[in-house]
Amino acid sequence: METHPASQATARGPMGVMRFLALVLLGALIGAVAAALATGFVNAVLWLNEALLVSPRSRMMFDRPDMLLIATVAVPALGGLMVGLLHRAIAERRAHTPADVIAAVQTRQGRLPARAGALSALSALVSLGAGASVGQYGPLVHLGATIGSLGARLLRLGRSEDNITIACGVAAAIATAFNAPLAGIVFAHEVVLRHYALRAFAPIAAAAIVGYVIATSVLERGALFHVADTAVPQPWEFALFLAIGGLGALVAGAYMRATLGVARLAAHLPLAPALRPAAAGALLGATALWVPDILGIGQETLRFATIAGAYDSGELVVVLVLKIAATALCLGMGFSGGVFSPALVIGTLFGALCGSLVGELGALSTDTFIYYAVCGMVAVTAPVIGAPLTSLLIVFELTGSYALTTAALASVTLASPIAAQLFGRSLFDIQLQARGLDLSAGRGRAVLQSMPVGEHLSRDGVTLAPSVTVDRAVAELGRAGHGEAYLVDASGRYRGCVTLADLEGARASQDAPASVGELATVERPVLHPSTSLWAAMTTLETVTGEALPVVDEADDETFLGVVYETSIARAYLAHSDELRQEEHGTG
């Protein structure tokens, strides 16, 4: 077993301070590496988009219309093929995403695998470079988290530190990609850690600042949106912003449902998993021949959506629906990439649509159009990534506009809770739930859900052959000092259990059975080694007894041992204590 990190965490005095400062320094270091990689990643995507005729600029500069048609379909298709082949080298046959990071931190597993992380980043680079309609922030977050986890492992730190360094990498990636350090810090807390501990804050802040500094000195990019200085919305427009939030939650839901739905459908396709991204790429490319706006990360589309009059309402509806479909197709069919950038585009298109409709009613001057676009953007992205505060901070740090942030706040007020009620906390949470990890009841439960009872398996329970006589069974139990015995036949199969009370009762009765086999009760539920502690605890609610038998999953009858109620209770207390130390210890 590992050393107990909680006890180290509580070290006070000069040594504690030194340890803590070292952790902050490590955070800054991880921030620097994650930021450098993130910068390289973003630049590599831009370069690939130029070289592979994905970006509008390169398409315009390429003066061969016939070749351009071929490239538009071939590049995403071949990119998809490469992605499919890359994913064969990952154990889960899919790219790792921020959902895996969240799962690792919430269940205190940590230890993100470096190889799968590197392969996922590579496949995301290929996906984005070839113009798939996926996001770049998810891969950056996962890359940063993998670097953080790697750092903790190299220094042989405990699980709590591993969680903090993962969050450091995440914060640095967001701070670098958006040029927004506060958003990076809040994202790491809001989405990944999901608790606030002073001990974690300082290293994460250090990582975010380093990322930000590197971003501002290396990456020179235009702000995501600009605001007219003079335009301030009318008071009544805030009611519209609230309404956009409510409707935006539904758009976010449609986007998430579509993505998950395509993934379910794809599983039934008569097509090898490695070939699915290629098929999606070809379909995407063919659609892009008519509507090129859906290709790639969609930076130009996002920009046009913030300009009043660039799209008319009809075009906005078409591009909005097609962008949702394209993203669901790419992500569902196995391209590697994030959900955030497409959500930004979808949300902004949705907001622009609301703005245009209000404008057509004649009530709006074009000065406040950007408010509608940004409200729509926040209303869709916040529910999808489950991060209302981060979305607001991104708006604030990118625009420096308090008025715009307030409008976005109005929108997110309704968007996040409505989407959470109807669909789930975020797309990540919904995906994890589908994989059997329910985070909706908090971290304490998530940790127990991820712990298999197998670790607490005991072999000192009394086992008897079903043919043993009642008298003999009573004697055996008396010798071992237990109240229950488990019946296992000659080929090792579990045949039920008997309690001392049953045996004594039978001995006293008139027609005493010849063997314990006849007395055995099979009502008591059995566990598998992989059953979670949480499921075991739920099972215990319906059982009175000292232990639960554990059988092999493969045949559901080979007896492996028992898990005592007291071990389960002890494990529960130990994990709760670790969590309390991690979340409330001051370091």
Binding site: S55, P56, R57, R59, M60, M61, F62, D63, E220, R221, G222, A223, H226, A228, P292, Q299, E300, R303, F304, I307, G309, A310, Y311
Partner: protein, 370 residues
């Protein structure tokens, strides 16, 4: 400063005399370098700031031939094997094309001198100034100028004001080209400068830009560089695009009541290139190194308002030698003016100009009746 320079020239001449004396047998007299440049006030400034001091220091006389842009003459000369020029003053876009065609000698970055404080050239020169075959010496800009008396009580401060005929009424003069006009039109929608060419690469971006131009009710289209200045002076238009050097000239020498709006200025690079087959490539390189030194670039900018390609030179620019005008305020590259500068994507234009031109001409024909 002046005495120090004279002193240095003195040393230069002395050394030169010494070396000439030593090499008296092998070589009689340094052969003249032939520079191809643009003539006019620009050439005059180059002679004073660059060529005369160069001759004083090296003993190599400089002859200047008149250049009218383009690559046809150079192509013919290189093909015939008889290149009459040693150094050419060329726009960067032409230089990039000529370099790709193999018409130019490659230039080593080690050719360039460090700044006086020791800053290496690659950090002292503005971004993208040092190319494979060309090195930028100065930058000029296409800007908007407006009549000071046209808008009582307010003045344009942003390029979007070009399209705001409610606050700034009156006719405009623009160059009859898509370049610059399209960029300005998109900037008026607050598109960040870095994204201009990405958006202009789409139908939607082009039509947004042309929509903006269409909203102006009177546009006079100019082709020769002097035209917008004349129209402004005559009061035929109240705002006009044009070259910053021409507007400066009108303001200083003709006392014209006009002002330059620096926001949205589109900068272009003027570069030195050495043609393949130059008769004296060694001396040509020497001229390039000499004229791109911090001191020489600053001297040129005192005479004509073209921004030096070196940051260290921009900081050293002082008054005009004759009028005493503070020249820093008139340089496109001065920090006060350069804030809103648009960097022209020359690679983009090199590949798309024909199609963009066609698109623009069709639009002109369909929407503008003159």
């Amino acid at each position: 400063m002046a005495p120090a320079r004279r002193w240095r020239y003195g040393i230069g001449v002395l050394l030169l005399g010494l070396s000439l004396a030593l090499a008296a047998d092998s070589e009689e007299k340094a052969e003249a370098l032939t520079v191809l440049s643009w003539g006019g006030a620009y050439e005059r400034a180059q002679r004073e700031a660059w060529f005369e001091p160069f001759t004083a220091e090296t003993g190599i006389p400089v002859e200047v031939a008149r250049y009218d842009g383009g690559l046809d003459g150079l192509r013919r000369a290189v093909a015939s094997g008889e290149v009459p020029w040693d150094v050419i003053d060329m726009t960067r876009s032409d230089a990039m094309a000529a370099c790709e065609e193999g018409l130019l000698e490659p230039l080593s970055p080690t050719l360039l001198a460090p700044a006086p404080d020791g800053t290496p050239p690659e950090r002292d020169f503005l971004p993208d100034s040092i190319g494979r075959c060309a090195v930028t010496h100065t930058l000029f800009a296409t800007v908007i100028a407006y009549r000071r008396d046209a808008f009582p009580g307010q003045r344009p401060t942003a390029i979007a004001d070009l399209f705001d005929q409610q606050r700034f009424p009156g006719p405009r003069a623009l160059q009859r080209t898509p370049a610059v006009n399209l960029e300005w039109a998109l900037r008026s929608y607050r598109v960040p400068r870095e994204e201009l060419y990405g958006l202009l690469s789409t139908r939607r971006g082009l039509s947004l830009a042309l929509d903006r131009l269409e909203q102006l009710d009177t546009i006079r289209w100019w082709e020769g560089g002097e035209q917008p200045v004349e129209w402004l002076l005559d009061g035929e238009v109240v705002m006009a695009s044009g070259y910053n050097g021409r507007f400066f000239d009108a303001m200083i020498h003709r006392n014209a009541p006009i002002e330059i709006l620096w926001d949205g200025q589109v900068q272009e690079h003027e570069t030195w290139v050495i043609p393949r087959g130059s008769p004296q490539p060694e001396s040509a390189r020497e001229l390039v190194r000499f004229t791109t030194s911090t001191e020489r670039l600053a001297e040129l900018a005192r005479r004509i308002p073209y921004g030096p390609a070196r940051r260290s030179a921009t900081r050293r620019v002082t008054d005009h030698p004759e009028t005493g005008q503070d020249m820093r305020l008139h340089l496109p590259t001065h920090p006060l003016n350069a804030d809103g500068a648009i960097v022209k994507d020359e690679a983009w234009y090199a590949r798309t100009l024909e199609r963009i031109d066609d698109y623009f001409r069709d639009w002109l024909a369909a929407h503008v009746d003159e």
